[in-house]
Amino acid sequence: MDTQEQELEDIELFQKHVSDRFTELSSPPEDDALLSVSWLHRLLDVFLCCEAEFEAILIMDRDPSQLSKPPFDRLIPEFIERAVKALDICNAVANGVDSVRHCQKLSEIVISALDQNPLGDGHAKRAKKALLMLLSAMNLDDKEGTHVKATERSWSFGRRGVNKEQIAGHFRSLSWQVAKNWSSAKQIQSMIYNLVAPRGAEASGLPSPIYTMNVIMIFVMWALVAAIPCQERNGLPTHFPVPKQLNWAHSLIGLQEKIADEWKKKEKKGMSGLLDELQKMEKLAQSLIDFTDSFHFPGDAEKVKEAAVNVSELKEIFGRMDQGLTPLQMHIREVFHRIVRSRTEFLDVLEKGSAPVL
């Protein structure tokens, strides 16, 4: 079989794999709800697998000068540019995971407070304090200057209220780590910019997997930004210009539309992130705070029972976060390093083929 045919076969196989992997992601088992911590792990794995295959097709056993000729002299540098943008998103998201871990820590206090028998006023107060902080941390409007919103809230328990410095301190850290004007939404927007599906002859050649990989990278970054709080997600694009007739893209597009729907729903209310555990935690926190607000010892037996159920659900979510969040950060770092390596490889190839380098 000659190289041309082999190449076509490889491309076809690659795109079949892509399709399969995303189909799997679309129908997660019970435990692995869409955009849960474990689902995100799987998403990142899918990215790493696809990327490895992609690199193999493009670089292995290939004469570098081939990739310096049109249209690759434009496509490869574009891919590299998108990769760099993805790196900044990885960093922002990894940072965002820290704020989710903070929520996890606060929920731990709530659990300690309410996991008492019999439940007293003191316990309820303790829980309420933590719940207020938790809800604020989650409804973090991740704009710059976010501490403005924090002080707007009425911290009206205890005479002095909660120490504002402490609150502001935590909230600052989200926007502290990145440049002032950096916006994750804009970043995604600029990644989508100029993304054009190959047509005609190009559609059956190497430009096709390049396009595929671009789409995958953008989708993964987009999903991460939608799930995890990070700076300035206002205006996150909800539509990807991926033509529906592409075979490999069906599951991916389906997923994207599902997530986009959720995003649009929640966007109006202002929210932390679509991370499944965060969403569930928010609901539980809301009902628990209502409970603690109205609680007086010894409390309504029904309500106490209900609260206990909520607490045990919260425990479960806490457990999942406890297990999965730090590994998620590590996983994101792995993706980060892989993208860096990939970029270096492609730059080398371009240099060898003596094309102008970015």
């Binding site: 206090i109 107060k125 502290w176 860096v340 270096t344």
Partner: protein, 647 residues
């Protein structure tokens, strides 16, 4: 004592046991020389036993009378502070310790009440509830006190020794340095001078006297299972403090995208800031922060390392990100020195990093920074290679006017004269490449003059750079049509290279052998120049018929004219040539003079009869004077100088 589970004994016999135990405790309590801890234990035990006794003595509600009394008393002590706007710890040590004692008492009461089996006793439940609520109130208050204390004392402990970033010498090595002479180039040396001054340096992030207070709050909160709240508060304030320190260092938070596109001048500044920030943050602040965490939280298991990691994480990730962005970037030659600074700084700090993050939770920090160190090592090597490539591939379209020292020579020699400062690092990094390069360098350093410094990896690399420079200069010299100028050019540049080596820290790395060889080279070019320029001229004055007497008039006139024309030609051309080095210029003039003037004088001397003839355009003195005009760099023609001489 908190774990003391007092249960209501069921039999009278147990009553006696309790009474006996109580008696013993009281007896022990009268012993002198009891340590404070032991005394406290006995007091607690006494309290518990009293509780049991009082509970046994009565049945039902009345038994809790004493407990209720104690609860009421301690309630007053705690609640009274709630209406007060003043902070307890601001009020004085007695108030503080009284409060803590009260909280302790509450916890004791709770433990005891819990320890009694739950007999659906209404009073017991009520008391327990009251006590828990009181505890929560106290804990909330303690949290506020803690934050207040930390914030108040945080602001007062800004170390004053940190120099502002602007005071850092920050010279960017670019083309402008080419025009600097040796002295100011040395001054502009970009190495971070503070590397030796700033080792580990632990500061009191919180004044020493406050620590026991914080510890006492910690103890009480942890004892009551409110340790999480303590950590939250502590981490929150300390994290913000650290980030404020970091902000003072003015590291711009830049995205990788921006850094990759940044122009060199700004990037150089940022790299400098990073190097400095790493030293301050890791060498000073994190060491101090770790100590603080250990002091405050050391006795509560792994909490101290958890808190430390949470406090430090964001800041160190910021530093890590920048380093990674740099390691990713295109490694151009001008980045080399900054990269070396970054590499050396991190190499020094890596031990501290390993120590600070030695437990499991911090392993990723260690890994990432080790990875970064490797990345920076690769960057240094890449930049060095790029430098070599730049040197050899630097092309010229036109010959360098005047034949003086080419900017490339200045750039290269000035640049590499800064490398010896980084000798040990470069040697380490080039160890593996050493053998390859040594064989490439055409001048093997062996024999008695070879020493450790001339054969080290850096030295070999330096010589390969100068070798490239030489080859390039040869190529450039070919652009001159005039062969004499080719030699002047090469003479100038080789001489410059030798001077640079002799007059800088490069000397031990190049060695005397190299200097000798290159001296010989430029001297060779000197001789070649003379030959090419003057041989034919001098030949004109040669005596065709030695031994015969003076020439005929026409022959003499012919020779004179020939000489004048040739001389004037040389004069016209070579006054615009340049020999920047005064010593070299002088040498060449002297040697030229010796040849030419001597030949002319001899020629004129051999033909005394024609000396007064008007065909002699120039006297010997004229020639001598005119030769002084050569290589000044400003073109002259003889008509001008003639006029000047006449006036």
């Amino acid at each position: 004592m908190d774990e003391c589970q007092s249960a209501i004994p069921a039999h009278d016999g147990d009553l006696h046991v309790v009474a006996a135990a109580h008696h013993i405790v009281k007896a022990l309590g009268t012993t002198k020389n009891l340590s404070d801890d032991l005394r406290k234990i006995l007091i607690d035990l006494d309290a518990h036993l009293s509780l049991i006794t009082s509970n046994i003595d009565s049945k039902g509600g009345k038994g809790f009378v004493e407990v209720e009394e104690r609860l009421k008393r301690v309630e007053r002590k705690i609640v009274i502070w709630e209406s007060d706007r003043i902070m307890i710890w601001d009020s004085g040590p007695k108030e503080a310790s009284d409060y803590l004692e009260a909280v302790d008492e509450v916890q004791t009461l709770i433990d005891s009440l819990r320890g009694l089996s739950m007999n659906e006793n209404q009073k017991q439940k009520e008391l327990l509830h009251r006590a828990s609520s009181l505890l929560q109130m106290a804990m909330s208050r303690l949290e506020e006190e803690l934050i207040h204390m930390l914030v108040k004392h945080k602001q007062q402990s800004e170390p004053t020794y940190i120099p502002s970033p602007s005071s850092q010498r920050n010279v960017v090595y670019n083309e402008s340095v080419v025009s600097l002479d040796n002295e100011s180039a040395k001054e502009a040396s970009s190495k971070n001078s503070c590397s030796d001054e700033c080792g580990e340096y632990i500061v009191d992030l919180v004044p020493e006297h406050v620590i026991p207070d914080i510890k006492s709050i910690a103890k009480v909160m942890f004892a009551s299972d409110y340790g999480q709240e303590f950590c939250e508060a502590f981490i929150g304030v300390r994290k913000e403090a650290l980030e404020q320190h970091f902000d003072i260092l003015e590291n711009g938070k830049l995205s990788i995208e921006d850094l990759l596109k940044m122009e060199w001048c700004s990037l150089s500044t940022e790299m400098n800031k990073w190097t400095w920030s790493m030293k301050i943050i890791f060498g000073v602040y994190l060491m101090s922060e770790k100590r603080l965490c250990d002091q405050v939280l050391g006795e509560f298991g792994s909490v101290n390392s958890f808190c430390f990691l949470e406090i430090a994480k964001t800041t160190i990730l910021c530093l890590l990100n920048f380093g990674e962005a740099i390691a990713m970037g295109p490694q151009e030659p001008e980045k080399l020195l900054r990269l070396l600074d970054m590499y050396e700084t991190l190499a020094d700090l890596v031990i501290d990093i390993d120590a600070l993050f030695s437990e499991d939770g911090g392993s990723f920090v260690r890994l990432e920074f080790h990875k970064l160190l490797e990345g920076l090592a690769d960057s240094v090597k890449a930049a060095f290679n790029a430098f070599g490539v730049a040197v050899s591939s630097n092309g010229s379209l036109y010959p360098f006017p005047g034949g003086g020292v080419h900017p490339l020579s200045k750039y290269v020699m000035n640049y590499i004269s800064m490398f010896p400062e980084y000798c040990s690092t470069l040697n380490l990094l080039f160890e593996d490449q050493h053998s390859d390069v040594a064989s490439l360098v055409s001048e093997p350093q062996c024999g008695p003059t070879a020493s450790l410094s001339t054969s080290c990896p850096m030295a070999c690399h330096l010589r390969s750079i100068t070798s490239s420079l030489e080859s390039n200069l040869h190529k450039k010299s070919k652009l001159y049509k005039d062969e004499a100028l080719q030699h002047i050019f090469l003479m100038n540049n080789l001489h410059y290279m030798v001077q640079k080596v002799k007059g800088s820290e490069l000397r031990p790395f190049f060695g005397d052998e190299w200097i000798r060889k290159h001296n010989a080279k430029f001297q060779q070019h000197e001789m070649n120049y003379e030959r090419v320029t003057w041989s034919s001229v001098v030949l004109l004055l040669k005596d065709d018929n030695p031994g015969s007497s003076s020439l005929s008039k026409s022959a003499f006139k012919e020779k004179c004219k020939g000489f004048s024309i040739a001389f004037e030609e040389v004069y016209k051309n070579q006054t615009s040539w340049c020999i920047p080095d005064p010593q070299l210029r002088e040498d060449l003039r002297i040697s030229t003079s010796l040849k030419v003037v001597h030949a002319y004088r001899t020629f004129l001397g051999r033909n005394p009869a024609h000396v007064d003839d008007k065909c002699i355009k120039h006297t010997v003195e004229d020639v001598e004077k005119l030769l002084l005009d050569l290589f000044e760099g400003s073109p002259r023609s003889l008509r001008n100088s003639r006029r000047m001489m006449k006036t």
